[in-house]
Every structure is written in structure tokens, then in C-alpha cells.
Amino acid sequence: MQSKQICKGVDLRVIPSNKFKTNALSIFFHIPLKRETVTMAALLPAVLKRGTEKNPEYKQLARRLADLYSASCSAGVRQKGDGEVLYFHMDYIADAYIGENLTEQVVAFLRELVFCPLIQDGGFSPEYVESEKTNLKNAILSLINDKKEYADVKCREAMFGKDGYGMFEAGYVEDLDAITPQSLYAFYQKVLKEAKVDIFVSGMADAETLDVITKGLEAELLPRDGGYIATQTATADREEIQYITEEIPASQSKLSIGLKCGVEPAGEEYYALLLGNCLFGGSPFSKLFMNVREKLSLAYYAASRTDRMKSVMVISSGIETQNFQKAYDEIQLQLAKMQAGEVEESELAAAKKYLTNGLTAMYDSVRALEDYYLSQAILGQNQSPEELIRCLEPIGIPQIQAVMQKVQLDTVYFLKGVEA
């Protein structure tokens, strides 16, 4: 990734490639994850997407996109450790396949969408704000429709509380009443003026293209003091494991187990954690897959994943209600084995190959690479996936064992399926 500062607090980051049929352009605003603003942040992109000053109807925007060979435009929020990013992403077919260069029109579209909203009485359109409040309320409440996701969100909330990292990024229903077109607009202006900005360009990125993009956006992005949001690494701090059971009418129960890892995301230990997670529950040859699923037939899925930035691990599984203890004991047993260093050299070799494959494959996905480098920028690094692969090579079982010993169970969230 190549970077260039456009002005203070605004960086242009470029991932050149000519193998894709599309080019992509994104703007990210970095803001802290705070209880006071989480709901407004989730609401803002939806309101902006409804219409602009020049094109106040959604249909006009949608038709303009379709006319640009069906360019796609998405906007939303994404959690990044103790912070979140407000993102606006566009991609569009490259000129080689349609004989027409759309970059200028796409930049104009993005500029209009993000910076030229429909304003009435010193605020956003009251009609759009009201209707998007209703939609957001429904989106927040519909978390329960996906029981696995619901259990994971509730587990995270139980681990960290209803602020910062513990929050559900879609926000809270009880905040919605107090949000007005004016208060949301004030929040928007503050973000525009103060938040750290990254612009990502992927695909054909010759000097001319970058010039069109820079010229199209620089007038809107003035120098600012805002920087990246630092994340405090989660470290084991609970004397006793927290057990929570919630009953819901469902055929299957969901188990979500949160662990704190205490590993610096930009430090050497992270490489051992990445491998440790792969061996423990992050692959189809992992201890969880081979034992909870294959050996004991307790589940269809039993997997773990880590959030690098916060240093949190989550184990998820869907089980029969009466098998809770069996599954939980087996998960603990397998974790203990990781902590005792009971890993074969052949398994470690497999994990390195598996991660190498996954990291190398990122080069084939614009979205994956963009998100990877965004996280890198937040961590103050510019390590390519290829360089990360090289850092995994020297890691041995003792280092993985040492890191896994830092990983501690924090919260067990059992979403217990009961008959309706």
C-alpha cells in the first residue's frame, strides 16, 4: 500500500492492481465508540443515502448509479477495536470492459452523497431522519433473528459493559427518541470537521486517476487534528468466570464463550496468537472441529476467532440444550491442551500453511485488502499480508503455548433453547 497525505489528518491510501474488472473508492471517518454517539453514527449513513441537496429522492441516486454501469455504493459503520469507522464505499466497472472511464462521475457521486446532503431548517430532512430511525430500530431489534450473532453480541456486552467495545454497533433503541434532525446534523458536521480521514483507492491507480480523485475530494476535506482511535488491549481481569443463561424459544441452543487474550496487536506475540487460534478453533483441522464436532458429534459448528485489535477470542457453537455441559467441558479440555502445548509439529505446519493460504488470498479481494490495510493504518503499521506470513514462519510450539496461557475464559453466554 502506498500512502500520501492530502492535508493534516487526511490520507490517500492506494492499493494498485489491474487484475480486477472494477475499481474501488472508499472514504473512512475514524470516530471513538461511545455510548453517546453510537446510535447517531449508525443512523447517519442511512440518512445520507436517502437523498442529497441536488438529488433529494432516493430513486434519483439509485438511477444515477445504475446508469454508471451499475456502480455500487454502500455506507455504514464498522467496529475497529475501541473505535469505529463510518465508511462510504463505491466500486465501478473499469474502463477496459465498457470503453468508458467512470472515475470522474463516481467521485462526483461520492462527493455529493457524503458532503452535500439535503438540509432543511439547520438539520437533515426531518422526514428522512424519522423514517431511518424506524428502520434502525427494526435493524437493532432484528438481531434476535440470527441467534448465533445475538449470542455473540450479548456475550461481548457482558464482557465489556454497555460502552465502548462492549456495545452493539447498530446502537440502542432507547437513544432514538432524543435524536433530532438538528442534533444528527451537528454530529455529522463535527465528524466531517474533526475526524481522521482515510481515502482508499483500489484498482487502476495511475497518476491521472489519483489526480481526479484528489481534486474531486480535497476541497471538502480541510486539515484536522483528529487521529486514529487507540484501543486498549483486553487482558484477563476477572477472578471468576461469568456465567449467563438466557432462555429463548428455539430448537437449538447457542454457546458463545468470550476470552481475553492480553496480546499487543502490533507486537510479536500476535503471530503466536494467530497460529494458536487456528490450531484451537480456527480451521477444519482444529481441536474444536476435530473433537466437538467430528469425535463427539455434538455440533455442526464449533469454532473460535480472534479480534486482533482488542485481543479478544470468541468461541461459538450450536448444540442440543442437554449437551451444554458435555460441550463446555470438551471446549475447556481442548483449551487446556493448547495451554499445555499439546500440539504436534505437523499440526503447526498445517496451521502455517492454512494461514499463508488465507493471507495470500487477500490479494484477490479488494474489500479484504482494503480492510486489512485500514486496520494496519489504525495500528500504525504498514505490514503487507506477505510480510505477516514471513513473521509466522519462525514461531514454534513453546511460543504458542506461552500465548495461549495468557488467554483466559471471561464469560460463558448460553442462549438456551426452550420449547415455545
Binding site: 489491474n18 430513486k59 428502520n135 433473528n145 441467534k147 477444519p284 483441522f285 472441529f289
Partner: protein
């Protein structure tokens, strides 16, 4: 064995293909510059194939529902008690498999050691190993998979729609079967299905990446026995009335607000390849022009708060079944249902505006071009198209075959407002206990 090559100038993409003496069709889509390789090896055999005639036998064989999917799980089993995942672990590849209504497919993606991985794929799919013990073991795992779907409102609203549309077509049955039906599955039944449908003439191998088809064929030679060619397998003919089973179907689940699907039944069956392709594209164009993000209808329903961004549509058109679904979440599915019916009635009179259809064409073309951004998307889309008999690189060409009149004809015959169904998942009224 003749290797054919074709190149599409607009897409700047190539396709190489050949038919192996065993009957296996092999396709390569060279993708230079990509790190990843993708291989997908599929059989035209899915959940709908529960009654068929084994070559050499006079009668139809009937097997338990969910057996194709069960077989997919068990193919990973190896003689020494290990599984194919562990073999792929040695090379770092990521492997998987899926079963749909009309196909079972095994796949891997990798960034290194492609031919070694191809060797594993061809090897494990060509040698089944089923025992009483390993078959019994899977009951628990698949049982949990079935239960996971029972709680999934998106899955339920989908299958309920099919239950309301189809009387006899097995497409209405859950792909994984039921806990009861899978209890009847034995190693012997699995072998019968395997030998019938995993015969090379019923299979396709699609390779995406910087692959040499000659070299790939050497691996095929090694693993695929030309003597196993049984040709195409006759299926029991499904007699499906044209009318729906019931107009409305409802289920209560733990959801926050109602989910709905409006379903249309495809009665124009038994078409040749070209006609089926045209039917499919015409349906896609209608969905984008009438129900897509640019449509008047979406704008109106959205502004009235009747639908939100979850509103979407899909068509699934295959040789043995076809249906179109429109849906999402809504506080009032009944109102959406009535509005869509009225809107369609109006369009039957006025026709779809040309401007809307032209835009839908651009969207369709863009989607086709975008598929080439991902080796997985290419492999998954193309194997389906190859089984259907379509030409994967002929995107603009296929689109141009479909006239505005074809689209209007499809609108009239498929979007029958007196034969559609409304499936709703409504919230359960219950106190949440902590």
C-alpha cells in the same frame, strides 16, 4: 481428446474445455494475476433426486429425503479413519462442499500446490468409504445442522413459500431432510446413490486460475475410470399441477418483526437450453426493473415504511423446477402483497417502461462482468451454468438474445397474481426471560 479454447474480447477472459473419455466434462478458466486457484467438482445430483432409475434396473429406486446432502458429508471420510480435510491441511488449501436442490459439489481454494490439491480432490470424491459406524456418527452432526436451520427465520420463510407453491415437486423439501428421514440412511443406500450419480458422465470439473488443462487431464486420467460412465440418469417424472397449494402460509418464530416472501411458480417447464436461458434472463430483468432499487415500486413502498433495505428478489430456474421470490422484512406483509399484486396487474396493461428495462440490462451486464472479480464466484456460477447447458462467457450475447417482447411475455405468464403465494414468519408473543 480434443481441447477447445475460446476467448471473449469484451471480457478479456478465456475458457478451455474438453470431455474426458469417462464422460467427465472439464473446464478451465485461466485467471492470470490472481493468487488463488479454485476447483469445483460437481455432480448433477441434489435434494430433488430422491426417485430415479439405476441403469440396468427396471424399476424406480426411492431413497430417503436428505440423502444427497448426507452423502456429501460422508464423502470426506477416508479408510484410515481420517478425513479429506486433514489431507488438504497438509497443503494449506481451504476445502468445502455443498448440496443444493440439483447439485452436489466439492471444492477447494489454494494459493500453492494446485495440482497436489487437485489430486486430493479427484481422489477423495472418487473413492467412497462408508461404514455402519461412520454413517451413524454423522446423525448427530447433521441433526444439529437441521436444527440450526429450523431456528433460522430466513430459511423457514423460504421453504414455507415453496411448500405453499408446490404440490409434488421435491424442491419443496428441506435439502438436509429431517431428523426422521436421515435415520433411515444406511451405507448400502449411500453406495447405491454414489455409484449412480457420481458416474463421470453426470459430473463436471471446473478449474479457475493459472491452470494447464493438459496437465489437469493427466490427474483426471489417474482417478476417473472411463468404465464407470453410466450416461445420464433418468429421474422419476414429477407431475406438478400448475396451481398453487395455498395462497397464504404463516409460522411464528422468535423474530422482531414479520419476514415475508411472495412466491411465483414457474410453470413453463421442459424447455430447451436456449429457451431456458432466455426465460432466466427475462426473469432477472423483470426483477431489477420492477422490484429493484431504481424502481418506482421500491421507492413508494420504502417511503411509506412498508419495506426497508432488506427488500430483495431472486429467481431460481433449473431443469426440474423454477420459482421467483420477492421479500424482506415488513411491519405489514399483507399490505406489501396487495400492493405488489396491484402493481403487476397495472404493468400487464401498460408494459414495463423501456427506460427501466434498459437500465435493468445495464445492471445485469454489470453483474455478469463483476463475477470475474472472484475465482470462487466464477467457479460456482459457471458450474451451475454448465450443468444447465449455458455458455459462461457469452454474457452480452445471451442478454442480446432477449428482446423486450420476450420480457413482457415472461411477465404475463410467470407473474400470475392469482397464482402467487404469501409466506410470513411472524413474531412469537412471548415474555423474554433472562
Amino acid at each position: 481428446m480434443e481441447i477447445k479454447r475460446c476467448y471473449n474480447e469484451q471480457l478479456k477472459e478465456e475458457m478451455h474445455y474438453a470431455v474426458h473419455p469417462s464422460g467427465l466434462r472439464v473446464y478451465v478458466f485461466p485467471k492470470k494475476g490472481f493468487q488463488k486457484y479454485y476447483a469445483i467438482y460437481g455432480t448433477e445430483y441434489g435434494s430433488i433426486d430422491s426417485a430415479f432409475q439405476i441403469p440396468g434396473e427396471d424399476t424406480m429406486t426411492h431413497v430417503p429425503d436428505g440423502i444427497a446432502h448426507y452423502l456429501e458429508h460422508k464423502m470426506f471420510e477416508e479408510e484410515d479413519g481420517s478425513d479429506a480435510f486433514q489431507r488438504f491441511a497438509l497443503t494449506g488449501a481451504s476445502s468445502n462442499a455443498f448440496t443444493s436442490f440439483d447439485m452436489t459439489a466439492y471444492l477447494f481454494s489454494c494459493t500453492d500446490k494446485f495440482y497436489e490439491n487437485l489430486d486430493i480432490l479427484l481422489d477423495f470424491v472418487n473413492h467412497p468409504h462408508f461404514t455402519q459406524e461412520n454413517v451413524a456418527k454423522e446423525q448427530g452432526i447433521i441433526g444439529q445442522e437441521i436444527k440450526m436451520y429450523e431456528d433460522d427465520p430466513e430459511w423457514r420463510v423460504f421453504f414455507n413459500t415453496l411448500l405453499a407453491l408446490f404440490h409434488n415437486n421435491p424442491v419443496k423439501l428441506d435439502i438436509a431432510g429431517t431428523v426422521e428421514s436421515i435415520a433411515k440412511i444406511t451405507p448400502e443406500l449411500l453406495y447405491r446413490c454414489y455409484h449412480t450419480f457420481y458416474n463421470p458422465a453426470n459430473m463436471v470439473l471446473v478449474l479457475v486460475g493459472d491452470v494447464d488443462i493438459q496437465k489437469a487431464m493427466e490427474y483426471v486420467d489417474e482417478h476417473v475410470d472411463a468404465k464407470r460412465n453410466l450416461g445420464q440418469i433418468p429421474r422419476e417424472e414429477v407431475v406438478e399441477p400448475t396451481h398453487r397449494v395455498q395462497e397464504r402460509i404463516e409460522q411464528k418464530l422468535m423474530v422482531s418483526q414479520p419476514l415475508f416472501r411472495i412466491g411465483f411458480k414457474d410453470n413453463k417447464m421442459g424447455l430447451d437450453v436456449d429457451a431456458m436461458r432466455k426465460k432466466e434472463i427475462a426473469t432477472d430483468l423483470i426483477l431489477d426493473a420492477v422490484f429493484g432499487r431504481c424502481s418506482d415500486l421500491y421507492e413508494e413502498l420504502y417511503e411509506e415504511g412498508l419495506v426497508d433495505t432488506s427488500f430483495d428478489s431472486e429467481a431460481d430456474i433449473s431443469k426440474g423446477y423454477g420459482f421467483t421470490l420477492i421479500g424482506g422484512e415488513s411491519k405489514d406483509p399483507e399490505a406489501v402483497y396487495q400492493r405488489i399484486r396491484e402493481h403487476l396487474k397495472g404493468l400487464m396493461e401498460t408494459g414495463i417502461p423501456k427506460e427501466d428495462l434498459d437500465r435493468a440490462r445495464k445492471i445485469w451486464l454489470s453483474r455478469g462482468i463483476r463475477a470475474f472479480n472472484s475465482v470462487e464466484q466464477m467457479g460456482n456460477a459457471f458450474i451451475r451454468q454448465i450443468f444447465a447447458g449455458y455458455e459462461p462467457l457469452a454474457i452480452s450475447e445471451s442478454l442480446n438474445q432477449v428482446t423486450d417482447e420476450d420480457v413482457m411475455e415472461r411477465l404475463r405468464e410467470h407473474f400470475d397474481v392469482d397464482n402467487c403465494v404469501l409466506s410470513v414468519i411472524s413474531p412469537m408473543e412471548t415474555e423474554k426471560k433472562e
